[in-house]
Amino acid sequence: MRHLPSISRRATLLGLSGAMLFGRTRLAVAEVPGDARLVVVILRGALDGLYAVQPYGDAALRELRAPLVLPEPGQEGGLLDLGGHFGLHPAMPKFAAMYAANQAMVLHAVAGATRSRSHFDAQDSLESGADHRLSSGWLNRALEAMPEAGRARRGLALGTDVPLLIRGSVPVGAHALRGARPPGSELLATLARLNAADPVLGPAFNEGLRARGFSAEVLGGLEPPPRGANGFAALAEAGGRLLASADGPRVAAMELGGWDTHLAQPNLLPPRLAELDNGLETLRQGLGDAWPHTAVLVVTEFGRTVRVNGTNGTDHGTGTVALLAGGAVRGGRVLANWPGLTDLFENRDLAPTRDLRAVAKALLAQHLKLPDEAVAKAFPGSEAIRPEGGLLR
């Protein structure tokens, strides 16, 4: 039996109790959001997919990028086998365990809507869900079709920024690590009133108050988490707990940087992969009982050159990997129309054979169960790209 949370004076001032009652009422009229949770993680800087998930069964691999190739599975320091042709970097044992439990999969030779090798154009495209930058992100447009039923917003941005991916007309909550002592509630209420007329600051200020009220209630004493290397994992854990709450958000966006490995890639990339791996595991732990209803999509703006550049790194490329994890995912496999490494895209990059939008559309349509019109609105101008079948249980 769970006691009703006590509503603090501050929460009352912020209108949280009103939102809660309103939410319950709407629940009663059966506009229930599904149980499904979707988390999208953006890896900024372009992850070398051929390094994270190495096609050791492709004879050309060692010939083209020997300094970046790890020993085959079973050997010391070798890859973690993903079923015979591909091997996962050993810095990601937790993802490998999810894969072994059929709760994670790899999509290889994927790319977004653009062939730009500009980080910024390609990230804009990836987040906009179109071949050029839009003023809102596809995840936010998807939220338009989801009912607002709990005390929290449907959508959640994890971190001190709100990525374009989840910006748009639907208000989203935000949660970031490290708090400071907040000022008094009367003063905050005054500021909320002063900001109300400002079209940009008004909604954002209210959202900040709302998110803090909700987070404080759900997370209780979880403050302040460690900084530095554990930041991503701690944020993922907190995010998982917020998403797990029955009337919490259903969709969240996160980001992790540091993937632009033009230099010394074998030294710089494994710690980043380990950080990602830890974050996916703490996200799973935070989600707890909600994990079986969860899909986590990990994407990056493009891949990197197949050949090693002059500085033991790789330059901007095209095809790369996406990762999909979660109890809702039909995992334990690598999905790839493998293009091979003998015929490279523009004689330099892994050729893309699968559009990331097909994967994202499948998650909206089959996981969040959004209607076709909503999926089309999230990814405008992509009628020819059908949602990928069979990704989910």
Binding site: R178, L201, R212, G310
Partner: protein, 430 residues
Amino acid sequence: MASRSHIAAIRFGLGPRAGEALPDTPETWLLAQIRPPLAQPGLPLRVCMDSMRLGGRARLEGGLDPGQLMRAEALACTAEAVASDAPFAERLAQFWLNHFTVSRGRGQTTALIGHFMREAIRPHIFGRFEDMLLAVVRHPAMILYLDNQNSIGPDSPAGQRRRGGGLNENLAREVLELHTLSPRGGYAQADVTEFAKVLTGWSIGRNPNEPEGFMFRPFTHQPGDKTLLGQTIPEGEEGGIAALRMLANQPACHRFLAEKLVRHFVGDDPPPRAVARIRAVFGRTGGDLAAVSRALVELPEAWAQPLSKLRTPWDFVMAALRATGADISAVPNAVFAMELLGQPIWSAGMPNGYPDDAASWAVPEQLMRRVDWAQAPAGQAVTRGLQPVPVAETVLGPLLGAESAAAIRRAPSAREAMLLLLSCPEFQRR
């Protein structure tokens, strides 16, 4: 006219300082700041390079490790901005530093960014753009940040020895995309590769027998002519210099820079007419940044009300410290605050720098943190004996709305009134 004084101080400057008179003739005040900047004292390049090379060991040898050195530089740079009597020039220096982002995130640049600001950016903010571009691309901080120090021409002696490969495209691509032409400037992958070859050999000295900073290494330079944007670029160090000067004077580069400047000084959606005017000044003067800066002051659009730009966390912290008459003792806290508020100093996540639009900074949790953090400078101002109502008059004057003014007057304590001033929506704008 009173509001023009405030606009000059807020939009073009870093915010009025408590207890100081606002300029009577705002345009004159701004134009007078367009003059060769005073040299900024700072650590010599040798000290910075030694710290970079020694890393954590620098401390054992009696020096500063890169983290300590950057902190000292960041404090000095921040103190300069908080106290500056030429805040328009200071804003421009920050603008160009962000345009040519070097972040401590990668490439062992931590110990070099302060020097980069002092030597590659500041001396050129009222000089020629092409000279700033050259100073930037030849500075060790940029060479390391974008990985050019070991880029090797495939047909150079070094490339022949190691058989093939050797190029690193990073610097060449970002100079084209972020520093000069922008993706709309119409270049292809082939231009990126060719320009990377042009820049092979642009490296840094590595030991006491080599130059302290920039060093051209013929051994790694790709021999022969290259073709960039259809133009022939000769072999050698001179080729790189010629290519950069050529890029700096392309119409696409002028358009890109004009648009960024107008976005910064007018609004998030730069009005085409204003962009065209600034672009014309770039073209007419060959990229004379003094003329460009004057033209920005003369843009009627830049004086429009209400102020539409949202202060970035950096802007906000500078404005709050200046508004509360903070002295040098507040500076360490300010550097900490920038991190707390989402814009840690010299740490942009990607080479395109910090964003310059309201949508990127109107982040709910960040706005909460502005209020959290502002409690400290508000409290300190009251301790120093400042009165909220006169401070509000100095800091925002006629730009303060009636509702906010009433809330400040009615606040139950001077401390809360000061906090309301720093947190009200008008104070978040510039």
